[in-house]
Structure formats: structure tokens, C-alpha cells
């Protein structure tokens, strides 16, 4: 019987005594894309930081079952958690400058995680980096350029390559298409869709773009004021929303 890759159990988190995540429990299954939608300030990014091990909750557990053994992400030592984050997990940030080193070459950005995992053969690293630039549709001639001079869309694609190069099992994405123009968004979404299907990795995708959620995720959770107010199959939640907040979200999209 298949087990969830990640089990989030009863998370509570507050900032300055103000609760930002309350009573949050859910599972992420191997190979699935789980969407998380909600307005700004609803606690989506905080939750993503908690379940990826970047931020400690006041209470609750985040159980990761990558290689058969169960680990509570927040009970691990700092070193072990870092290792897990560099090898089995990935994190694509909305702001590429948080997810990339803008001042080192694209190739070095991609190679970094491989080197952290012990790879040292320069020629091999370079080939792998070229290979990944190709997969994310960036011309190989840009390998030695710094992402500082990349466009927004290219930076996001480079971030994806940097994360996927170590074949992680679970990738967290925080508004990966935020701030990009629509045509660039569509390209990125389609690219993600293809890569995820091909690699069989699981993704937790935070977005406020319901069209992106519908296109990419099979299951969807809706967050409001720190709570998950509704969850289910993505098409069911969007076509037959039950909670008044989800109905408001869905009704706010123009229908053509």
C-alpha cells in the first residue's frame, strides 16, 4: 500500500501572538501536484515554509517519507534537514533572487546542488548543466552568463533547472509564475507540466492563479485566514465550490 510522501499534522503557527496557520493537516502523495490557493495574507507562503522545513511551527508535525523511513522534518538536526532540502526536496521561489545566486553563472547555479551531493567532475557538471538549460528551454550559449542579466521568465526557468537537477522527490513552488507576463506564464506552466509528468515528482504549488491551478494540479486546497477551508479534486473545487470564500474566488474570474 502506497504511503503519503509528506504528512502534515495539525500545524499551528503564530507571528506576534497572531495565528497565521491553524489546524492544518493534509497529505502529499508521490507524483501528485497539490495546489494551494488563497488571497495574499491567508498564510500560504508561511505554510509552504513550514512544510518545507524552512520555518518551525509552534506545534504540529511534518513527516517526510522519502526513502521508506519516516522523519519529522522539524525534529531533525539543522545539518540533516539541510541535506534533505538539498537532495530530496526543492524550492522554487516567487522572487528568483531568493532562489538563485544572481552573481554566479547559470551553469554554477545548476551545478551547485550536484556539487553539494559530491559531484566534482567539471566536464560532467557542465554537460549536465547544458542538458538542463536545454530542458528548460534556455539557449546553451547562455550557460556562462549570470542570471543577473536574464529576463524574469528565464530566471524562473533557471530556478526550476537548479532544483530539478538532483531529481528531488518533492518540490515546493511559491507563485512560480508571479510577476511574469501571460505568454511567459503559459510557457512556464506547460514546461512544468511536462517536466513533472516525466520525472514523477510531487509538487506543492502555491498560487493565486486559479487557471494555473486547474491546469497543473489534480488536488486543490483553499486557504483563508490561516485555515484550509475547502479541499478536493481541483475540478470539483473550482466547478462546484462549497465554501463562500471559494465561491468568491471562483466568481472573481471573468468568464469568456
Amino acid at each position: 500500500m502506497q504511503k503519503p510522501l509528506l504528512s502534515v499534522k495539525n500545524i499551528y503557527k503564530e507571528f506576534n501572538r497572531r495565528p497565521v496557520c491553524r489546524e492544518i493537516s493534509f497529505d502529499v502523495w508521490p507524483g501528485e501536484i497539490l495546489g494551494l490557493v488563497g488571497e495574499s495574507g491567508s498564510g500560504k507562503s508561511t505554510l509552504l515554509n513550514i512544510i518545507s522545513g524552512c520555518l518551525k511551527p509552534e506545534s504540529g508535525q511534518v513527516i517526510y517519507r522519502g526513502d521508506g523511513c519516516e522523519r519529522d522534518m522539524h525534529a531533525l538536526t539543522e545539518g540533516r534537514r539541510r541535506l534533505l532540502q538539498r537532495t530530496e526536496l526543492g524550492f522554487v521561489r516567487q522572487n528568483a533572487s531568493e532562489g538563485l545566486r544572481l552573481n554566479v553563472s547559470a551553469g554554477a547555479n545548476i551545478g551547485e546542488r550536484l556539487m553539494a551531493g559530491g559531484a566534482r567532475n567539471f566536464a560532467k557538471l557542465r554537460r549536465e548543466a547544458e542538458n538542463w538549460l536545454d530542458k528548460v528551454e534556455i539557449d546553451k550559449s547562455r550557460l556562462d552568463d549570470k542570471p543577473l542579466i536574464y529576463s524574469g521568465g528565464m530566471r524562473q526557468r533557471l530556478q526550476i533547472a537548479r532544483n530539478l537537477v538532483t531529481s528531488p522527490k518533492l518540490v515546493f513552488m511559491d507563485e512560480p509564475t508571479g510577476g511574469l507576463d501571460v505568454s511567459v506564464q503559459a510557457r512556464l506552466l506547460d514546461l512544468l507540466r511536462g517536466l513533472v509528468a516525466g520525472l514523477g515528482l510531487a509538487v506543492v504549488l502555491v498560487t493565486h492563479d486559479l487557471a494555473a491551478a486547474r491546469l497543473l494540479s489534480e488536488r486543490l486546497m483553499v486557504m483563508q485566514a490561516g485555515r484550509i477551508v475547502e479541499s478536493g479534486l481541483t475540478d470539483q473545487v473550482l466547478d462546484d465550490p462549497q465554501h463562500s470564500y471559494t465561491q468568491l474566488l471562483v466568481a472573481s474570474i471573468p468568464q469568456f
Partner: protein, 235 residues
């Protein structure tokens, strides 16, 4: 006695519109029916009677308020109204196909790949899947030069045919058809009719909404008439 592939018992469905003062709209009231393997049931009724809602409830796209919908999935009964999202995903992968009037276009994905996807997802070899998809697109008279194009620029009829091909390419035991021939010409309606007949012969249980009398009269074995429920709810 033949096995019922779809069994609907006394289901009701109401939409509560929280953003509009909590108005309650009844879509379905106390609907019961069964569909057996190898038969096609036509769902009839005036506009607003809940025909599409009923199909969507079976597919797990709409939730039901009460009653029971069970289907046979991999030899076992699955209660759609009580199933987890993952169970419904599994049932859609192996057991149920839903063909709507509209094609959800994915940017940059070619018509051929859209059609081949259900096969690939079910584990078929991609090359084999592409071959079957091509054959079906050809049968539905989609010109070969369009196969590699994303259907965003296709005509309504072309899109619908891509959608039909996607629904029929992997023959699943349950087919839900929401006006599959709405914008097709006569020749293509015939192709769809033949596809439905062939699916029945291979034992598929089909529930369909057909506005076209000719298609309905040829493919449907039985009809189920839905009446428009009272839109005013008691509460």
C-alpha cells in the same frame, strides 16, 4: 442478469450561492437510475432539468447532497459520493471517461498529444499511443496538418472532435457524453455514432445527453426523463 455499471439511488443536488445572499438552487431532486454494461441511456429533459449536473455528479465533478452513486471500478463497487479525491482520480484513469462539449485547451500541447494523453497516463507506450491517437483523429476527419498544432486556433467543430477522440481513444467501461455531437456536421455525427455503437459492443456503459434526435434514436437503448426541479427551496 447483466451487471449495473452505474447505479444512482435517490440523489439530490442543490447549489447554495453564498455570495448571492445564500440563494439555494435545486439542480437535481431524488434521481434514481441504473446503466448496465453494453447499454446506452439517454438523459432527456428540458433545459435546466439538470442533465449536465447529473453527468458531472457521476464523474465526481459535482458533489451530491444526499443519495448514492456507485460505479463498478476494477471489479468492485465504488461509491462516488463517498470516495476520496484519489479514489475518484483512479476511477477516472481506468474506468470513467467524460466527453463535454468543450475542450480544455492546454497552451502549446498538440492535438495529437491531447488525444494520446489518456493512453499514456494509463501506462501505454507513447509511440503506440500516438499511433492510436492519429488513427482516431483521421477517422474524425481532422486534417493531418493540424495534428501537431495546439487546438487553440481550431474551429468549434474541430475542437469538439479532438475532445471526442480524447474520450474514446482509451475505451473505458463507463462513458459520460454531454452533447458529443452538438457542433458537428452530418458526416462527423455518423463517425461519432459508430464510435458509440462500437463502445457499446465492447461492453461500455454509456450515459449521454443527445440533443440530436437522429443520434439519440440510433444509439440509445433507453431514456431517462429529468424534470426541472422546483428552483425555490423550502429554506
Amino acid at each position: 442478469m447483466p451487471a449495473a455499471m452505474i447505479k444512482i439511488e435517490n440523489i439530490s443536488k442543490t447549489f447554495t450561492l453564498h455570495q448571492q445572499g445564500g440563494v439555494r438552487l435545486k439542480a437535481l431532486e431524488a434521481v434514481s437510475l441504473t446503466v448496465e454494461a453494453g447499454e446506452c441511456l439517454a438523459v432527456n429533459g428540458p433545459s435546466g432539468a439538470g442533465k449536465s449536473s447529473l453527468l458531472r455528479c457521476v464523474y465526481g465533478n459535482y458533489l451530491t447532497d444526499s443519495g448514492r452513486i456507485s460505479i463498478v471500478h476494477q471489479g468492485q463497487n465504488l461509491e462516488i459520493n463517498a470516495a476520496s479525491p484519489r479514489q475518484i482520480m483512479a476511477a477516472r484513469l481506468k474506468t470513467m471517461a467524460y466527453v463535454s462539449q468543450f475542450l480544455a485547451v492546454i497552451p502549446r500541447v498538440s492535438a495529437l498529444n491531447i488525444v494520446a494523453e489518456p493512453l499514456i497516463k494509463a501506462g501505454e507506450d507513447p509511440k503506440e499511443a500516438a499511433g492510436q491517437a492519429a488513427e482516431l483523429l483521421g477517422r474524425l476527419n481532422i486534417p493531418r496538418r493540424l495534428w501537431a498544432v495546439a487546438p487553440a486556433t481550431f474551429s468549434g467543430g474541430e475542437r469538439q472532435r479532438v475532445n471526442i477522440a480524447r474520450g474514446f481513444v482509451k475505451l473505458k467501461p463507463i462513458l459520460l457524453l454531454d452533447e458529443p455531437t452538438a457542433s458537428l456536421d452530418k458526416a462527423n455525427r455518423r463517425v461519432v455514432r459508430d464510435l458509440i455503437e462500437a463502445a457499446k459492443e465492447r461492453g461500455a456503459a454509456i450515459m449521454g445527453i443527445f440533443h440530436d434526435d437522429e443520434i439519440r434514436n440510433t444509439v440509445a437503448d433507453r431514456e431517462h426523463l429529468l424534470v426541472r426541479p422546483d428552483h425555490e427551496s423550502e429554506n
